[in-house]
Symmetry: C2
Subunit: 352 residues, 2 copies
């Protein structure tokens, strides 16, 4: 059995965690990293991650550079939140015959803001026989994929509500900045209005829900708002310092109207020193369903898990620009990847 | 766009509810029912369900009889809990080119107890280019599919625990009998040991979990036990009467050992007058994840939902004897069924 040859594009905090988790997978062979930072290009993936087995694995300046040395089956893309820029980066990978899983948030449903680029990428995927998917914990699981899965036991769906409260105190630096930590509330609100801060991919979560429910809404029906959460005492984390009166996080909401009714109601709080992290999803309809994660679903670790765990399902999916809802459920066994009619051929297993 | 021509095999309580729900789906055309009961064969599906639009839809004595009048694209199979008997019934449907979704509980993972028949059915599916799946709410969702979906955000999975408590007081008659209601505890225990009572498909839930996690267990590693739940006061439902000291339900458990560790721990209570129905799923690992449905997931309605909602995903899946974990996530729009690269072509929708 040949391992899957995987390259990591983007070596920020998430990219490096991705490499570390991937190194635990017997089905994966890590063939290189890619990053624009010259300081990282001088080091091996072993040096950057502390995993000695990767001491001989190089970091390249570009995907082209990597390809001169090794051809990947899969590229893991963790390089920013711009859907247009990400599709520009991913297109050459697809044309080179590589599947791509990405944490770029709006790639969860890129058709919402970039339908033309999405259609071109979808066509390129079909031509090359490979698949691309945008994934993560949020977007990618808690407020979109999970509610969709829940509706499998619904005979009628009137409204989908999801509330997520995240304590960002111990999260990575880029995330603490993204939620406005340490900014004056007006400054943060202004950056959000310019699309330069806030939780990315939130409207795409709503768009994926609407898509799966068959609610044919337009982008104008998806309304997103943000309120800064203001600190009432000083906060100091590993990455930022917040004075009283400054922003310690965000309260962001997305609401979708369809045929005169509020059908999607998403409510997200991510803040430093936020005290009761949890996730709740409610499907109003028949039956009424309420699900909670009393302690919440952790962020960064779950994002990396979602990225790596999507690989076996992605490479066996139908070629194209896929949605997370179009992939099979997770499968964690290396045998799964090279199955025949099944991911795993159950008849070949000992369960009989 | 042609509607999907669907026949309902088995017209017990679940089969009739299935027809009623299906009648609400614009993508479905109900072409006939099939039941061995001559009294039902004399009536139309309209008479049996109260839906006048089905007044001209007949009930046939067999699948062959149906085929003389109309060829179905899909058959919904709700006719008992024997995997061998169900596969015998389903095989001619597959050979006639029909996809089949079934509530036969052990069909969730038929390879566990009937690997040879499963392999033959899988081969027949591939030859005919159709798919078969076993589904439902439990097995089919709460204690198997849902935990597998949760592990999509796990970097390590040590143990899967699921607890389900169901109040069966208002459930259908066959289910109240299945859980032993009104039997002497010894009688019920004896019937369970003979495979004639108790919750069916429980070991298959565990087998599907093990399969998805890559835990290569054998049937001997899956240990199922049952304790009757005894009434301490008289109970009378629409279907049964229970005296004090008689059985009012079951407490059934499945435990799976793998490499010396308890890796799967499923705990099910289904009883009349059970006071706090709920569902809890725990993934022990990294991260630790606990999810609860504080009010539980209702049974019969959710079973029918799971059956019908599987159809769009089943007919677009890879041909074969599929697992629920191999299907895409639910999609509720009729457009979804005739898509191109996607179930729905997002570029064709208004979400842009």
């Amino acid at each position: 059995m040949q391992p899957i040859r995987i390259a990591q594009f983007g070596l920020g905090p998430i990219g490096l965690e991705s490499v570390k988790y991937l190194a635990t997978k017997p089905w994966a062979q890590i063939i290189g990293g890619i990053d624009i930072d010259p300081l990282k290009q001088e080091q091996s993936l072993g040096r950057l991650t502390g995993i000695t087995a990767l001491d001989d694995v190089s970091v390249y300046a570009s995907f082209d550079d990597l390809c001169e040395h090794a051809k990947p089956d899969v590229v893991l893309h963790t390089a920013g939140s711009s859907v247009v820029r990400s599709i520009e980066q991913i297109m050459p990978m697809v044309k080179a015959g590589a599947h791509v899983a990405s944490t770029c948030e709006p790639l969860l449903y890129p058709w919402l803001t970039a339908p033309q680029a999405s259609a071109e990428l979808d066509a390129a995927c079909m031509a090359a026989g490979v698949s691309v998917v945008g994934t993560g914990v949020n977007p990618g699981f808690v407020m979109d994929l999970l509610p969709v899965v829940m509706t499998g036991v619904s005979t009628r769906i009137d409204r989908i509500k999801a509330t997520r409260v995240v304590d960002a105190t111990t999260r990575r630096g880029p995330l603490q900045k993204k939620i406005g930590s340490g900014l004056e509330p007006e400054t943060f609100q202004s950056l959000f209005q310019q699309g330069k801060a806030g939780h990315a991919g939130f409207c795409e979560s709503a768009a994926l829900l609407a898509h799966s429910m068959g609610w044919h809404v337009t982008a104008d029906d998806i309304v997103e708002t943000l309120e800064p959460v203001v600190a009432d005492k000083p906060i100091k984390t590993e990455h930022v310092t917040v004075e009283p009166g400054q922003t310690r996080g965000l309260h962001q909401m997305v609401k979708v109207m369809y045929k005169g009714e509020l059908v999607i109601d998403l409510d997200l709080t991510m803040a430093l020193c936020e005290e009761t992290p949890h996730d709740t999803v409610t499907i109003e309809g028949a039956p009424n369903l309420t699900l909670t994660f009393p302690d919440g679903v952790p962020g960064d670790q779950a994002t990396v898990a979602s990225l790596i765990n999507s690989v076996p399902r992605l490479i066996t999916s139908k070629p194209g620009l896929r949605l997370m809802t179009e992939l099979a459920s997770p499968i964690h066994d290396k045998v799964s990847i090279l199955g025949g009619s099944h991911f795993i051929m159950p008849g070949e297993k000992a369960v009989s």
